[in-house]
C-alpha cells in the first residue's frame, strides 16, 4: 500500500509492550471474596517491528491467547503499557479505539464462536468495510469474494451461514475477515491449527505474500513449532505468563538457551514412522505445569528443570540479552555462558525432572505407544524395550547433545 507508516524508516517499533500484566481474580464463597488471582500474563516486554513476524509459542494455558487479547485491546490489562505507533493505547476508551480497530486485527483461536451464527459469510467478512465506512474498489461483495478466494474458499460460499462450513473453512473465514481492511498488525491465534498440511501451506504462503506486498506485521501464536519456525522472523517462548526466551529464529532453533525451549524443541514428533528413531534422544519433561495462581518462586521453570540449583529456586532470572538478538531468562543457560557459575549443586527435584528417551521410544509415547515393542521398518534400534532411562549421568548420543549435556548432572 502506498501509505506505509513513517515509522518503517525510522526503525521505531510498530508495537511496544512493557511489563504487561493480566490477572484474573479467583473468587470464593457466598460473598465472592477475592482469594487470589490467575496470573495469566505476568510481566511481558517486547517490541514488534513493522513488517516482521513475531512467533509466540508455549504450552497450553501459558497465557498466549490472553496476551493476544491484551495487545489488540480486547481485554483490559491489569498493569503495564502498550504503545502502537508510538501512541499509548493501554487504557484508551472504546470511542478512541475505533480507528485502531482498522489497523489492528485478531484472528481468534476458536473460529466458530467468533462468527455470528445468524449472519451470512458475506455479511461477516464484509462487516469491517461497513463499520469503518470503507468502500473498496468494485464494491464490497466483489472484494469479499476475492478475499474468500484468497483463503481457498469459493465465491459461492458468500450466502452460507457459519454452521454450514467445516472447521477448517471457519478458521479461514476468520482469516479473510481479519485481512479485509489490510490492517497494519495482525495477531493470529493458532491460525492454521484446524487445517490440514496442504491448506496450511496455502494459508502460510498467503500470509507471507501479503506481508511482502503490503508490509503486514504479524504476531502469530501457535503450538506447532515447525509452523512457527516457518513463518517467524523472531520467536518468543512463553512459560507460565512470562517470556523465557526471545530470539531471532535461526539462533533459537540452532542454539536454544533456555532449558524449557530445548525440551520443547526436542519433543517435536517426526511425521513418519520410518524416520522415527533415526535421531539421537529426546527430552521428555515430567511433572505437571504448575498452577498460574501460585507460580513457583525464583525461576518459574525450576520445578521441572534438570539444571535447577538453589539460586533458581530463590532468584528470578531476568530476561537479558546473552548474544546479539538472543535474550533468555535463565541462570544456567545452554549455549551461553553460565550466569551463576558458582552455584553448581543441582536441586534434588532436578534429577527427576526429565527423562532422556530414545527418539523411537518417545515417538511411541507421543503416539500412545502404538509402536512400542513392534519394530519400525528397517530400524533395529526401535525394537529395544521401551524403558525410560533416567537423565542422570546418561550421556546423549549425538555429539551436539553431548557437548550440551546438562551441567552438574554428571557430577554428584
Amino acid at each position: 500500500m502506498a501509505d506505509r507508516p513513517e515509522e518503517d524508516k525510522t526503525g521505531e517499533p510498530l508495537l511496544r509492550v512493557e511489563g504487561l500484566v493480566k490477572h484474573f481474580p479467583v473468587k470464593k464463597g457466598l460473598l465472592q471474596r477475592q482469594v487470589g488471582a490467575v496470573k495469566a500474563v505476568d510481566g511481558l516486554s517486547f517490541d514488534v517491528h513493522p513488517g516482521e513476524t513475531l512467533g509466540i509459542v508455549g504450552e497450553s494455558g501459558c497465557g498466549k491467547s490472553t496476551m493476544g487479547r491484551l495487545i489488540t485491546r480486547l481485554d483490559e490489562p491489569t498493569d503495564g503499557r502498550i504503545e502502537f505507533q508510538g501512541h499509548d493505547i493501554t487504557h484508551m476508551s472504546a470511542g478512541k479505539i475505533r480507528p485502531l480497530r482498522r489497523d489492528v486485527q485478531m484472528i481468534f483461536q476458536d473460529p466458530y464462536s467468533s462468527l455470528n451464527p445468524r449472519h451470512t459469510i458475506g455479511t461477516i467478512v464484509g462487516a469491517p468495510f461497513k463499520l469503518q465506512k470503507v468502500e473498496p474498489e468494485g464494491g464490497v461483495k466483489k472484494e469479499v469474494q476475492r478475499l474468500l478466494g484468497l483463503v481457498g474458499l469459493s465465491p459461492e460460499h458468500y450466502n452460507r451461514y457459519p454452521h454450514e462450513f467445516s472447521g477448517g473453512q471457519r478458521q479461514r473465514i476468520g482469516i479473510a475477515r481479519a485481512l479485509a481492511l489490510s490492517p497494519k498488525l495482525v495477531v493470529a491465534d493458532e491460525p492454521v491449527s484446524a487445517l490440514d498440511v496442504s491448506i496450511q501451506a496455502q494459508v502460510v504462503n498467503l500470509l507471507d505474500d501479503l506481508q511482502d506486498e503490503l508490509g503486514l506485521t504479524y504476531v502469530i501464536i501457535a503450538h506447532d513449532l515447525s509452523v512457527i519456525r516457518h513463518v517467524s522472523d523472531r520467536i518468543a517462548v512463553m512459560y507460565l505468563g512470562k517470556i523465557v526466551e526471545l530470539s531471532d529464529r535461526k539462533s533459537l532453533y540452532e542454539r536454544p538457551m533456555h532449558p524449557y525451549t530445548k525440551a520443547l524443541l526436542s519433543a517435536v514428533p517426526v511425521p513418519d514412522p520410518k524416520r522415527r528413531g533415526v535421531k539421537s534422544e529426546r527430552i521428555l519433561l515430567k511433572g505437571d505445569v504448575p498452577s498460574p495462581i501460585s507460580p513457583p518462586s525464583g525461576c518459574r521453570f525450576h520445578t521441572r528443570c534438570w539444571k535447577a540449583t538453589e539460586v533458581c529456586r530463590t532468584v528470578e532470572p531476568p530476561l537479558i540479552q546473552l548474544e546479539p538478538g538472543h535474550e533468555a531468562a535463565c541462570h544456567h543457560p545452554e549455549n551461553a555462558p553460565d550466569q551463576i557459575p558458582d552455584d553448581t549443586k543441582v536441586l534434588a527435584s532436578a534429577r527427576e525432572a526429565i527423562a532422556l528417551v530414545g527418539d523411537a521410544v518417545a515417538a511411541g509415547a507421543d503416539a500412545g505407544k502404538a509402536s512400542a515393542g513392534e519394530p519400525a521398518v528397517g530400524e533395529p534400534a526401535v525394537s529395544e524395550p521401551a524403558v525410560v532411562k533416567p537423565a542422570v549421568g546418561e550421556p546423549a548420543e549425538a555429539p551436539e547433545e553431548t557437548s550440551e549435556a546438562p551441567k552438574g548432572l554428571t557430577k554428584e
Binding site: D110, K141, R172, A201, P271, D272, A367
Partner: protein, 345 residues
C-alpha cells in the same frame, strides 16, 4: 463382524432457491459425503484423514445421527453392532449416544454449555453413564481432568468454559468422552489446540481406552503425526470419497494415490532446510469435478490422463493386498521412492 461397518455413506445438503442477503443467487446442492465405506473393529484405531472440507466431520455427524433432518439426504448403510444407524429412529439413536457411542466434537467452545461449570457438565455424564453421584462423581471428574493433563482439577471443575484456555477446553471435552466409556468413540480433531507434550498424553489416554476396554476409535485428524503414531488403518478422503485405504506403515511407506502422495509431501517439518517454501498441492479443493464424471482430484493432479475423466475410478489394489487405491494412474514404486526421497531429504 466389525463393530462399525460403513457402506457407501453419502450426505447431500439441499441447495436453496435463493438465499437471504444482498444480491444472492441460487445455491446448488452440496454433496458433502459421496460414497464412503470403512470398518472399525473393537479395539482398533481407524483414521479418517483428508483436506479441510472433504467431509470428515459430516461423516461423523451422520453416524451419530446428529445431522439436521431438514434439507439433508443421507444414503448408504452404517451398521453398529448389526443395527443400521442411518435408519434408526430418533429415540433409539439417542439412547445409543447416551450409552455406547460418544464423540469428541471439533469445536470445543460451542460444544460446551457456556453457563454451566465444567464440573457439573462432567459429573452429569458420570451419573448418566456410570451411575456415579455426589462425592464419588466429583472425585472421578477431578481424576479425569487430571488424566487429560489439566492442572489443579478441583479448581477447574468450578470454572466456566470461557475461563479455560483453548487447549483446556479441548481436553475437558476429551475427559467427558472418556467418562462415557463408550464402545465406539469418534474423535474429531481432538488434539488440534494442543502442544506436543500434552498431545502425547492425550493420545496415550485414548490408546489406553482402546487397549484396555476394547473401545473402537474412529480418529478424524489432519495431523499426519497423529496418524503415524496412533492409527492401525487409515482412510484418506478426497471430496467426500475414500481415495486410499491402507495400514499405517504401508501408507507412509508407499502413498499411492497422487493426492495422498502430495499430502505427505506438504508437511512442514523441523528437519527441512530453512526458508524452503511449503509445497502445497496446487489448486484448491474447489477445483474439482463431480465424482460421477471422473476423478474429482484430476484438476489438481500431476499424473492425470484423459482416462481419469471417464467416470468414477474403481478401488483397486495395485501394490499390496488390503492397500486400496481409487486411481487410474497410481504412483507406483519407482515414482514413489523418488517422491519420498525428495520429501525426506
Amino acid at each position: 463382524m466389525a463393530l462399525l461397518s460403513v457402506d457407501e455413506l453419502s450426505v447431500t445438503f439441499a441447495g436453496q432457491g435463493g438465499g437471504r442477503g444482498a444480491g444472492s443467487g441460487a445455491r446448488r446442492d452440496t454433496k458433502a459425503v459421496d460414497g464412503v465405506s470403512f470398518e472399525v473393529e473393537e479395539g482398533q484405531v481407524v483414521g479418517l484423514v483428508g483436506e479441510s472440507g472433504c467431509g470428515k466431520s459430516v461423516t461423523a455427524l451422520a453416524l451419530m445421527g446428529l445431522l439436521p433432518r431438514k434439507g439433508v439426504s443421507v444414503g448408504g448403510r452404517a451398521e453398529f453392532d448389526g443395527a443400521d444407524l442411518l435408519s434408526m429412529g430418533e429415540k433409539k439413536i439417542r439412547d445409543l449416544r447416551g450409552s455406547q457411542l460418544a464423540m469428541i466434537f471439533q469445536d470445543p467452545l460451542s460444544s460446551l454449555n457456556p453457563v454451566v461449570p465444567i464440573g457439573i457438565q462432567v459429573t452429569e455424564i458420570l451419573t448418566r453413564h456410570r451411575g456415579l453421584k455426589g462425592e464419588p462423581a466429583r472425585k472421578e471428574a477431578a481424576s479425569l481432568l487430571d488424566r487429560v493433563g489439566i492442572p489443579d482439577p478441583d479448581r477447574r471443575l468450578k470454572e466456566y468454559p470461557h475461563q479455560l484456555s483453548g487447549g483446556m477446553r479441548q481436553r475437558a471435552l476429551i475427559a467427558m468422552a472418556v467418562a462415557c466409556a463408550p464402545r465406539l468413540l469418534i474423535a474429531d480433531e481432538p488434539t488440534t489446540a494442543l502442544d506436543v507434550t500434552i498431545q502425547a498424553q492425550i493420545l496415550e489416554l485414548l490408546k489406553e481406552l482402546v487397549d484396555q476396554q476394547g473401545t473402537a476409535l474412529l480418529m478424524i485428524t489432519h495431523d499426519l503425526g497423529v496418524v503415524a503414531g496412533l492409527c492401525d488403518q487409515v482412510n484418506v478422503l478426497y471430496a467426500g470419497r475414500a481415495v486410499e485405504t491402507a495400514g499405517r506403515r504401508e501408507l507412509f511407506a508407499h502413498p499411492t494415490h497422487p493426492y495422498a502422495h502430495g499430502l505427505l509431501g506438504s508437511i512442514p517439518r523441523l528437519d527441512a532446510p530453512r526458508g524452503d517454501p511449503l509445497r502445497p498441492i496446487r489448486g484448491s479443493i474447489n477445483d474439482k469435478i463431480a465424482w460421477a464424471d471422473g476423478c474429482a482430484f484430476a484438476p489438481r493432479c500431476d499424473f492425470y490422463t484423459m482416462e481419469c475423466l471417464t467416470g468414477t475410478p474403481e478401488l483397486t489394489e495395485p501394490r499390496a493386498r488390503g492397500h486400496q487405491v481409487r486411481c487410474v494412474n497410481p504412483v507406483l514404486p519407482a515414482e514413489t521412492s523418488a517422491g519420498t526421497a525428495e520429501v525426506s531429504s
